[in-house]
């Protein structure tokens, strides 16, 4: 019996010497350890072994069996490891190849600036109102204290459709529509397209403005300044200051031009601010009492301020765009950069 076992052991050892795949290993395993495999047959042969020798023989056969299982197990593991390695190698990719992306789109720079501005002012309690782009002379000029013979009408070259209808030259026109309907407290933003007969690198016949209006009791020029300070910090960065200087708009009195300290050079003077340390960003002022009166708001009781800025101008300043035309050409090389 021992001989048989030794022979079998040798046979198994020989058989698994050249096994390289889990399939053939399985075949061999079945051949020896399967139900009618050679080791199992040995077990069955126990019947012929004399009774007194059976326990001893059983131990020997079981030892062979566990030895064989152990051999197969070890081999199986090493083959599996090898096969996995092969699989890994076969499936390996060049991770530097480009990814399968859905390309990002982009927002128009005006949309980005507009959103940013609205979010700043919405936090201060402003709501958004959008008025018509084709306006009456009344809303665009007369109600804004700019009667027909007023020289300020020449400040903005107007596109006319008829003697009375025109393309609005300023979003201020929307102010009047709001003040006619709504009574104080009023805090509105009026963004939108406006039109002027002007066409060069810094002017476009169509551009966008954002107008702001506050009317309530006891509103002062200092309140305007306080709000603009906040605006400048949020839009242009902490540390950016504002400066008011006298100006003129028919619908505000006093009127101011608002400069922000240059966010590029910090006010030392650079190309962006033309060496002055300041950049002009918007016009503002205290709402002219005639404008309030015209809308049925008592200027003795209420006061207010208004401000207006060019959205493209802010966009050009913020992103360093040097030609306004780019904003309206729709060139994909330009557009794709403004991811928002």
């Amino acid at each position: 019996m021992q001989d048989k076992i030794d022979q079998l052991k040798k046979k198994i050892a020989d058989a698994i010497k050249d096994v390289h795949s889990s399939d053939s290993l399985f075949q061999i395993k079945m051949k020896y350890l399967g139900k009618s495999g050679e080791v199992s047959e040995l077990m069955k042969g126990m019947r012929d072994v004399p009774k007194e020798k059976r326990p001893e023989t059983g131990i020997i056969i079981n030892a062979l069996k566990s030895w064989a299982e152990d051999q197969f197990g070890k081999l199986d593991k090493s083959i599996k490891d090898r096969e996995l390695k092969k699989l890994y190698a076969a499936e390996a990719v060049d991770v530097t190849l480009p990814g399968n992306t859905c390309k990002n789109g982009a927002y128009h720079p005006n949309t980005l600036v507009r959103r940013e501005l609205i979010s700043v002012f919405a936090g201060m309690g402003f709501t958004v109102y959008e008025g018509p782009e084709i306006e009456n002379d009344y809303y665009n000029f007369t109600a804004l204290n700019t009667p027909a013979d007023h020289p300020a009408r020449d400040m903005q070259d107007t596109f006319y459709i008829t003697d009375n209808l025109l393309l609005r030259t300023q979003t201020s026109a929307g102010q009047i529509r709001v003040m006619e309907k709504q009574k104080p407290p009023i805090k509105i933003l009026s963004p939108g397209k406006v039109y002027r007969s002007d066409d060069d690198a810094t002017h476009s016949p169509m551009f966008s403005q954002m107008e702001g209006l506050v009317v309530d009791r006891g509103i002062t020029l200092c309140d305007l300044k306080g709000m603009l300070d906040e605006f400048a910090r949020k839009i242009f960065g902490n540390g950016v200051k504002t400066r008011l200087r006298p100006s003129y708009f028919p619908f505000t009195e006093p009127s101011v031009e608002v400069d922000v300290s240059c966010f590029e050079c910090g006010g030392k003077g650079c190309r962006l601010c033309k060496g002055t340390g300041w950049i002009e960003v918007l016009g503002a002022g205290m709402v002219n009492r005639r404008v309030l009166e015209g809308c049925g708001i008592d200027p003795e009781e209420y006061s207010g301020f208004a401000f207006g800025m060019g959205i493209e101008r802010i966009a050009m300043l913020k992103y360093g765009i040097n030609n306004m035309k780019l904003l309206f050409e729709g060139d994909t090389r330009f557009l794709k950069q403004f991811k928002g």
């Binding site: 789109g105 020289p151 309530d216 020029l221 709000m227 200087r245 006298p246």
Partner: protein
């Protein structure tokens, strides 16, 4: 407006530098756009006296010894034809900078530095200069235009710096004056402001004159008082036209005006100094010794001083004599009454014309002048009166005429000056500004601006200067105070008295933001194009003559034809953008624009038109119709609605690749491939797909998403392969399936096949159907029942068989 510092100094003592003054003016509302220094390129030039002057044989040169005072005697070689011993001329010493001139000795070609050198072997230490070389013309200094040496008077001291002697140390302020301050459009106007900001006294210009003789009467009649509220005329006789004296010529020259003769120069001088445009008529040429101010008769003609001829209309104001128009009021005089060398008597005009009348006429005729520019801004009658006195004063100062007693001053019922009394509350002013300006300071500031001030309790009783027509209420006074007091006193506060308001976007604006976010996630780029284009852009997309898109609003005064029509569809702008991209070598892109179109309710336009927001999508490069349709499906899904698609025709679309897009009964727009014929016409080498939807309608259809509880019962999925007629659309089949069974929640086409196996004129379509149970689970038999019903309906209504 150009303002020489030397001229300002006649009316106010200025003891700070030009740069400091610039800063002060900026602070009180007058931006100096440019500070120009006269003679800024000239240095190291002194007065020299030629002591000896010997010709250099065989050349045009002379070798001179020039006494340069403290700088010593220099040997200078000179080629000028007027060099001679005994003359005085400017000497550019070694190291000096002067202008280099061209061969003509007139054209300035740059700045050069004088070096020690040799001319024809003769040593020369410096250069004798002409007027041009040191930046002086004939109006700046006598002889300045001559191409030889500028001869200087004997009184100039040898070796003295030439710049102060020739007015080359002056500054010119180019000032932007805001539209509310026409009274500052002059030397004296700005001098008043400078006096106020420096706390100095303003010295009034001398407007005094004496009547020397009696004259023959002149009549002035104003027939159009609404646009000529005031007219002052004064008769001057025995006038002697002659060149103006140097001081006057130089002032005009500094402001960029050429001298003509003393009489004309006086009117130009007063325009600059007082801000009142004046006119001088040759009185002998006025028929009937009469001035009539009236509107022109239609087609009446006038030839202005510059020789241009105009046909007039009733909108134009003219100054006539007893017979004919002699001037375009406020714009330019007529040739027929022009001052000439022969003029012996003149009539001065100082008048006020309505600003819009002058503006309209100047625009309509395309005839603009310094005079019209001032009238358009507005003149005040205080100055109109003063200017006449100043003109007569100058006639006498220059000794070029005899001032008569003939002075006609017509004040019509429209005449007024700004002088008025006004009471303002300092408390209210401070409340508007949000700061406390001390009463004493306020009084000092207002007095410095020539306001009469009396303090009465908290109020200030003010006498407004007659030239300040802009002062209208206490807010104007607040502005006067704060601009002088200084804006740096305004400290930021945060509306302590205002009520809290709830800010933010409206639902509609939020929806718009979501749309843009969604499109950005889909890789779309947002564009913005002009709201106007050309009628040709509609031709480009083959819009028929009667197409509704041709019912557009036209701009009366467009920049050009290509921007003259308010758009009625966004598609042409999108196509143009795609073409521009392709021409620039950008080979693909997904674009969209959300913008308005303008639809007239009637034409010609009387009411505000409808402004309808449209959404236009454009894709070019390697895309198919189903890519643009995919974007639309995504859009619909984001609004929780479904779009219907039906084959349609649109003039600019491929007839076989165009769908009408609807939602329920509402037609929203079109999507399709740009007609290849149009692509060819536009030389587009890539396919383009366009969609345009009515966003105003679309936004009303949007539904909020609704959560529905997860079904307890599993969904059942079945595939159906059908054989249908070739021309049947997928949409029709889907619709039929949905209507046949209410439990069908999704129908997805996953295969389509045309070929022999399904027979001629047929196609196979394979669908994936999802059945969603509601109250109980489906048994397989139940689903078989649904399928049976669906197949029955398909067979009956659409002649579809199961494959």
């Amino acid at each position: 407006m150009k303002l020489p510092l030397s001229w300002l100094k006649d009316y106010v003592d200025i003891d700070i530098s030009a740069e400091e003054l610039q800063t002060k003016l900026f602070g009180c509302g007058f931006e100096v756009e440019e500070l120009i220094q006269t003679g800024k390129d000239i240095s190291g030039v002194v007065v020299g006296e030629v002591i000896s002057c010997e010709p250099v044989e065989g050349t045009h040169l002379h070798v001179c010894k020039v006494d340069c005072g403290a700088h010593g005697v220099k040997q200078i070689c000179c080629g000028a034809d007027n060099v001679a011993a005994g003359i005085k001329a400017p000497v550019a010493l070694v190291g000096a900078t002067v202008y280099a001139t061209g061969k003509d000795h007139v054209t300035i070609e740059g700045v050069m530095t004088i070096k020690k050198g040799k001319l024809r072997g003769i040593e020369s230490e410096g250069m004798l200069c002409s007027g041009v070389e040191i930046g002086v013309n004939g109006d700046m200094f006598d002889g300045g235009d001559y191409c030889g040496l500028l001869l200087l008077p004997e009184s100039f001291e040898n070796g003295a710096d030439i710049k102060p002697l020739l007015g080359l140390d002056d500054y010119i302020f180019d000032i932007a004056v805001t539209a509310n301050r026409p009274d500052c459009q002059s030397v004296t106007g700005m001098a008043r402001e400078v006096a106020a900001v420096l706390g100095k006294k303003f010295k009034e210009p001398d407007c005094s004159y004496t009547v020397e003789e009696k004259g023959e009467k002149v009549a002035v009649k104003i027939i159009a008082p609404d646009i000529c509220p005031r007219y002052i005329a004064h008769y001057v006789k025995n006038v002697r036209p002659a060149p103006s004296p140097l001081w006057l010529r130089r002032r005009l020259a500094l402001c960029g005006l050429r001298s003509i003769n003393n009489l004309v120069d006086i009117t130009n001088f007063i325009l600059l100094e007082m801000g009142q445009p004046m006119h001088a008529f040759d009185c002998a040429k006025l028929e009937g010794r009469e001035i009539v101010v009236r509107r022109a008769v239609k087609d009446e003609e006038i030839v202005t001083l510059d020789g241009k001829s105009f046909k007039l209309s009733a909108d134009n104001l003219v100054i006539c004599d007893g017979n004919k128009p002699c001037a375009l009021a406020g714009i330019m005089g007529g040739e027929n009454s022009e001052i000439t060398e022969q003029t012996s008597e003149l009539l001065f005009e100082s008048a006020k014309f309505a600003r819009d009348s002058v503006r309209k006429t100047a625009r309509a005729l395309g005839q603009h002048s310094d005079s019209s520019a001032l009238f358009e801004k507005g003149v005040n009658e205080y100055t109109t009166e003063k200017a006449m006195g100043r003109a007569l004063h100058l006639i006498q100062k220059l000794g070029c005429g005899v001032v008569t007693d003939v002075h006609v001053d017509v004040k019509t019922e429209y005449s007024h000056d700004g002088a008025k009394e006004m009471t303002v509350s300092l408390k209210k002013i401070n409340a508007l500004l949000g700061i406390e300006i001390p009463a004493e300071t306020a009084v000092t500031i207002l007095r410095s601006l020539n306001f009469g001030v009396t303090v009465k309790d908290d109020s200030l009783v003010l006498q407004i200067p007659a030239y300040r027509e802009d002062i209208d209420g206490y807010a104007d006074i607040a502005e006067e105070l704060i601009r002088e007091y200084g804006y740096e006193h305004v400290k930021g506060t945060f509306m302590p008295s205002a009520l809290i308001t709830n800010g933010g976007y409206s639902e509609e604006q939020k929806a718009e933001n979501r749309l843009k976010d969604n499109f950005a996630a889909l890789g779309m780029y947002e564009i913005s194009t002009y709201s106007f284009y050309s009628e040709k852009d509609l031709d480009m997309l083959h819009f028929a003559d009667g197409a509704p898109e041709r019912n557009f609003i036209k701009i009366k005064n467009p920049i050009g034809e290509d921007l003259s029509v308010m758009r009625t569809t966004l598609a042409p702008s999108m196509v143009n953008t795609i073409v521009r991209n392709l021409r620039r070598g950008n080979t693909e892109g997904k674009l969209y624009e959300l913008a308005k179109i303008y639809l007239p309710r009637e034409l010609p336009l009387e009411n505000l038109p409808e402004e309808r927001q449209m959404l236009c999508i454009g894709m070019f490069g390697g895309y198919t119709f189903f890519d643009i349709k995919g974007v639309l499906e995504n859009l619909a899904d984001s609004l929780n609605i479904k779009f219907g698609y039906a084959p349609a025709q649109k003039c600019y679309m491929h007839p076989g690749i165009c769908a009408e897009i609807s939602c329920g009964d509402v037609i929203l727009g079109y999507a399709g491939r740009l007609d290849p014929q149009i692509c060819e016409e536009l030389a587009m080498e890539k396919k383009a797909f366009i969609a345009e939807l009515d966003y105003d309608k679309l936004k009303t259809l949007a539904q909020p998403f609704k959560y529905s509880p997860l079904s307890k019962f599993p969904e059942a999925v079945r595939d159906l392969a059908l054989v249908a007629d070739l021309n049947l659309t997928c949409g029709e089949v889907e619709k039929e399936i949905f209507s046949a069974c209410k439990y069908v929640t999704e129908v997805k086409l996953f295969d389509i096949y045309v070929g022999r196996q399904v027979g001629e004129g047929k196609k196979s379509m394979a669908f994936n159907l999802t059945f969603t149970p509601k109250d109980e689970a489906f048994t397989p038999e139940r689903i078989d029942g649904f399928i049976k019903k669906i197949l029955g309906n398909l067979k009956r209504n659409l002649n579809i068989e199961l494959r």
